[in-house]
């Protein structure tokens, strides 16, 4: 059995940042494995540890920089990795979920996995759309926002809980092959061990261009174009106390007494 995990390197913005043109200044960005994908990788590795002959392959659309993140997924137990990048993708402001799904679908078609795990959302773009769009491309079944997974590979069914709003979970059986978008909390992602990190250096990481995966440059064309990025005007009239921590704490304490939270 083969499990494909989509892994994105996401950007986090520092407390202090500027915006130039259509994006946050590169100097204010830090990169990390997407939180949701960390849970997806863990779920896949647990499946491989529980079964015989399960291969876990990660797929990433991203520049060379993303290999650090990909190696992290390998260090946590994925067997090999595929990264797709191309000069044509360099400098593309915004890869919409449809284009990303096309790109990942091209790799998935090559790999023919039984199960694909993606994250519910990418922490930076928060489209929340790539996994289900991918399933549609591939003609796979799918389930979004999965926080419990019980796989019966023999029967070809994944029994999942979908986490709905308000503390309600939907219990659903999904036919394989399927794409499941994994929600945080489904498991406890492991830390990469030193040994794992060493081993990851030797695991295969294939880099493919658009041509390698059988796509042409037209893939980056999108009807959706980013036109501006800005810091939202704060609508708040919050009173924010500055000064030293003890002065600010004193102000807040007075407020809480005033509100009758604490007597005296």
């Amino acid at each position: 059995m083969k499990v494909l995990v989509t892994v994105k390197e996401v950007a986090e913005v520092d407390d202090e940042f500027g915006i130039s043109g259509l994006d946050v200044d590169e100097s204010a960005l830090e990169y990390d494995l997407n939180e949701w994908d960390d849970y997806a990788v863990e779920e896949a590795v647990q499946i491989s540890e529980a079964g015989d002959d399960v291969e876990v392959v990660t797929v990433t659309v991203g520049p060379e920089r993303a290999e650090e993140t990909v190696r992290m997924a390998l260090a946590k137990g994925a067997d090999r990795a595929v990264r797709v990048w191309d000069d044509a993708l360099e400098g593309v402001q915004f890869l919409d979920p449809n284009s990303k799904a096309d790109l990942i679908a091209a790799v998935a078609e090559e790999e023919s996995p039984d199960l694909i795990l993606s994250g519910v959302q990418a922490g930076d773009d928060a489209n929340g759309a790539t996994g289900v769009a991918l399933a549609e491309r591939l003609g796979f079944e799918w389930a979004a926002v999965v926080n419990d997974l019980d796989l019966d590979a023999e029967a070809g069914v994944a029994s999942v809980h979908r986490e709905l709003e308000g503390g309600i979970e939907e219990l659903t059986d999904v036919d394989l092959p399927a794409v499941l978008t994994i929600q945080t909390g489904i498991n406890e992602p492991r830390y990469a061990s030193l040994r794992g990190i060493r081993q990851a250096q030797r695991k295969p990481l294939d880099v493919n261009s658009l041509e390698d995966v059988g796509l042409d440059e037209g893939i980056v064309e999108s009807a959706v174009e980013r036109t501006s990025m800005y810091e939202p005007e704060s609508e708040s009239d919050a009173v924010v106390w500055d000064g030293s921590a003890d002065e600010a704490a004193g102000e807040l304490a007075a407020l809480l007494r005033d509100k009758g939270v604490v007597e005296g």
């Binding site: 940042f17 449809n98 503390g167 309600i168 708040s236 924010v240 106390w241």
Partner: protein, 322 residues
Amino acid sequence: MTVLAVAEHRRGDLRDVSFELVSAGRELAGELETDLAVAVIGGDVEGFADELNREGVDTVYTIAEGEEFNHGVYTQSIEQLYADVDPTALLLPNSVNGLDYAPAVAGSLDLPLVTDVIALGGGDSIEVTREQYGGKVETTYSIDADRYALTIRPAEWPAAGAAGDATIEAFEVDVDEASLGSTVNGFEEVGGGDVDITDADVLVSVGRGIEEEENIPLVEELADVLGATLSSSRPIVDNGWLPQNRQVGQSGKVVTPDVYIAVGISGAVQHVAGMKGADTIVAINSDPNAPIYDIADYGIADDLFEVVPELIAEFGGEAPDV
């Protein structure tokens, strides 16, 4: 030209986002100078149609297929209705179920899709606004296409109010049952237990800023000296540092205390969904740009490990060593 919005219901009730979709749909239909149609699929469609018949809705299409949400039924139904109505814009909820079918529908109809839209603008091509980087920035996107799909963030538009005079039309679809690859077997409620954070007058709520499980006693002590109940954001529960019944937010509890003190919580939309109804919101967050300050009434933009011990001392407690 029509704007077609798709309502959402669960276990017998339309969800609030359905009425917000009517408002957003009305706004977009105004921009495009066209009609607004609303579709409702499954359950008591006639009852739902009466409720959805709000001011500004021209047509409500009822599709009597199934009881609860099934993404295969929704996808097939919307595709068939789409072929008939030929709408310019398909407006769907950015709910958990919306995310389970919108990308599939957009994919099969070959429509550009923008999710989690918080504002709409007109012009030559439609322009939409969304958030990025955990709500620290907003971005606008133009959509250069004759047909497109959008998902609308819940609680951004007001619920449409007054009754309308829409035409209610039953729409027959032909669902290919054999192709349905997901079977919904039921529901389960989670988050029960001994503590009910929805009952508390004062909540001290802790987020990822606390860094380590070993530091939780610090906020516990603050809650203690204030006679408050301890709640949290999601990562704290995901990490197993507090039980599920303490989680505030979209997938946790909706709370409306007199005072809500958010300690080391950024204010992600899914968290805010659970606490924006609090009377007084206090934020302790070292990042003055954190979105929590958009809804806070008071704040201390400083290190919680400095501020919380001072606060505990103010009320005569002793901060644990963390």
